[in-house]
Subunit: 168 residues, 2 copies
């Protein structure tokens, strides 16, 4: 199962693709889409939507994962981020891909065991969990990979819970 984590931003949107086979997680692709700073917001949104569309066409995921909106943010940042999120969600949902959402605390907790971990701790644990210590991922990319890892763990817990609930 291929899981795509997306960390939206109007200048940089992180993405991370993780292949889940049983308990094994393998990074398939990760990085960020960056917009030229001289583009206005509508053109940045179009740029990000086009890049995400290309990525999905190259690696069609079974699930896409985003953080729930929007934590500890001023109104101006929130408006810009929500517009970027909307442009990206329309691309994912337009291709019929199922979407999951987790809060930042759920993601940090799933990856590090601590719902208040900082970005560096998350990045270190992402590399460890994906056996990919040498990769030069930007923090947008490790944040997106953390979302995919969180989703993979939830799927595993859900399937265990289903098994446990079955009569022997």
């Amino acid at each position: 199962m291929l899981i795509l984590g997306i960390d939206p931003g109007s200048l940089h949107t992180g993405y991370g693709l993780v292949e889940k086979q049983g308990s094994a997680l393998t990074p398939v692709d990760a990085g960020r889409f960056s917009c030229p700073r001289d583009l206005d917001l509508p053109r940045r949104l179009a740029h990000l939507a086009a890049r995400l569309g290309e990525l999905i066409d190259r690696h069609p995921p079974d699930l896409a994962v985003l953080e729930t909106p929007f934590h500890g943010m001023n109104a101006r940042s929130l408006i810009v981020l929500a517009q970027a999120r909307g442009a990206l969600l329309a691309v994912v949902a337009g291709r019929g891909i199922e979407i999951r959402e987790y809060s930042p605390a759920e993601v940090k907790s799933a990856v590090t065991g601590n719902g208040r971990a900082d970005k560096d701790q998350v990045a270190r644990m992402v590399r460890l969990l994906l056996s990919a210590r040498g990769e030069g991922w930007a923090s947008d990319a490790t944040d997106a990979l953390a979302l995919a890892i969180c989703c993979a763990q939830r799927l595993k817990l859900d399937s265990l819970a289903v098994r446990a609930a079955k009569p022997l």
Copy 2:
């Protein structure tokens, strides 16, 4: 010149296409894209983006016009509306169409002469200005047409100002 006004909403997005020839304004198409209420937000955004794309392909506008975000709104409504706006902006900008933005007060003032006019006054004046009293437009549609009319008036004022600035 064909001008497309867009009034974003996650359930209903209004649109209004106005043809400007000199001072004459003619309505070309107006209405709203409505989403089935049982769709989740990502699928509503994809639905609206697809409908807007089809409209633009049918009637390619020279300019698209939206209201500046976001006036007198609670955080929850604002987040939903901003995501709808982002999905729609990405469609317009992705097709290379120029975008203008005006505040609600500017639009009301352009259409009725009163920056605090209510929805009914706006709707009445839109019908009058477009010589279209009999049309059964929803208020989302008249709001979108008001945006297109506001834009057309600004273009006219801008061209007059350019002419006035030229030496005799």
